[in-house]
Subunit: 217 residues, 2 copies
């Protein structure tokens, strides 16, 4: 992933997004203040890490009562969110595309999945989970008319490489690719390849290593 | 994620899994040798990174012809795979659970999703994509009888915290959690929290930063 002239590391951005979700849940429960070690414990990391992340974004707290939950949420919003809602499209409205759509919308985020693309005649022209589904043939036209800046690729892997050119031509700025085909985009397009197989294989590897080290003991 | 007495970094493990998928695709196409810069280009990284990763696992190549694809696949197999197939269960057989199952099985990996758990009476007792679906009440018994070592959590987020105790009690060794609730497990259980929202927010953040830096230019 390209980082474009900013100084906040990728991992910190990920954690800020995670902190915010936890803080929103705390706020909902009426919790007004939270200590760094409590927030850290909920994420399985150290308090030092939490404090370092918040220092990086210039947030300091009343150490006697902990962080003010509402103020910290607003502060993170200021870092992560753009001023207006960003429109997202899903390419491939199978199980994964539908899961992502359900998961996202209605969460009140500054990101909104507004449309889907597919080639399946049963899906094209229909509305799935309140999202209209268009044929890929209309990709460029719909991206422009709906002001879409980010796409999520949840198509079959074999289709993924054929999506690169339409995505570039349509002026998409961010791509989240869930298929097993790593996709390369020119500079200026933020792309994240996020293969579920990789993560499950990683978990399996560390389980195996853990077993082997136990066998040795 | 805990690393248990091994020296290969997490990111290298992820990339090895990705290299292997690319190498398998090359092998299928009849490609017998590949240069590090070609493999690197397919993953949008540098050749130095590829060579460093392979050096870390002790693999060296004939630099004139590039890496022998088949030999390298076997070598990575030896690092990543355990000797026997690991059985995986999915908790929550909604769209995401079904997407993951379809995605995984039939790929000939050393990981196999063998069963699912849910509480929906329409799903419990049925077979979905060749996977039998049991009620969560029977979790411990089925995990034991089917020798399951890894679970994938694709349940609704609000359910996730209630799964921690059954997972510990059943002797599960690895957890891949896709919900928005970060889950903590005791040492000895490898856990990866993998929230899709985080990744989409990260892509959006870097798109926003890129826009702002373009506005400045």
């Amino acid at each position: 992933m390209s980082t474009v002239g900013n100084n906040i590391p990728e991992k910190t951005i990920e954690r800020l997004s995670e902190y915010r979700r936890t803080l929103l849940a705390c706020h909902k429960q009426g919790i007004t203040h939270i200590f760094s070690h409590v927030l850290a414990g909920m994420h399985g990391i150290t308090a030092v890490q939490v404090r370092r992340d918040l220092m990086l974004i210039g947030f300091s707290s009343d150490t006697k009562k902990g962080y003010d939950v509402k103020v910290l949420i607003e502060f993170i919003n200021g870092i992560l969110d753009s001023e207006c809602v960003m429109n997202v499209a899903v390419i491939g409205m199978g199980n994964l595309g539908q899961a992502i759509t359900k998961y996202f919308n209605g969460k009140g985020l500054k990101l909104r999945i507004v449309t889907a693309f597919d080639v399946d005649p049963h899906k094209v022209g229909s509305v799935i989970d309140d999202i209209p589904c268009y044929h890929m043939d209309r990709f460029e036209e719909v991206v422009s008319s709906m002001d879409i800046s980010i796409v999520v690729i949840s198509s079959p892997t074999r289709i993924a490489p054929s999506l690169v050119v339409p995505i570039i031509n349509a002026g998409i700025k961010g791509v989240l690719n869930f298929t097993s085909a790593p996709l390369n985009f020119p500079q200026g397009i933020v792309a994240e390849n996020y293969d579920i197989t990789t993560i499950l294989e990683k978990v399996a590897y560390f389980v195996k290593e853990s077993d082997e080290s136990n066998d040795k003991n």
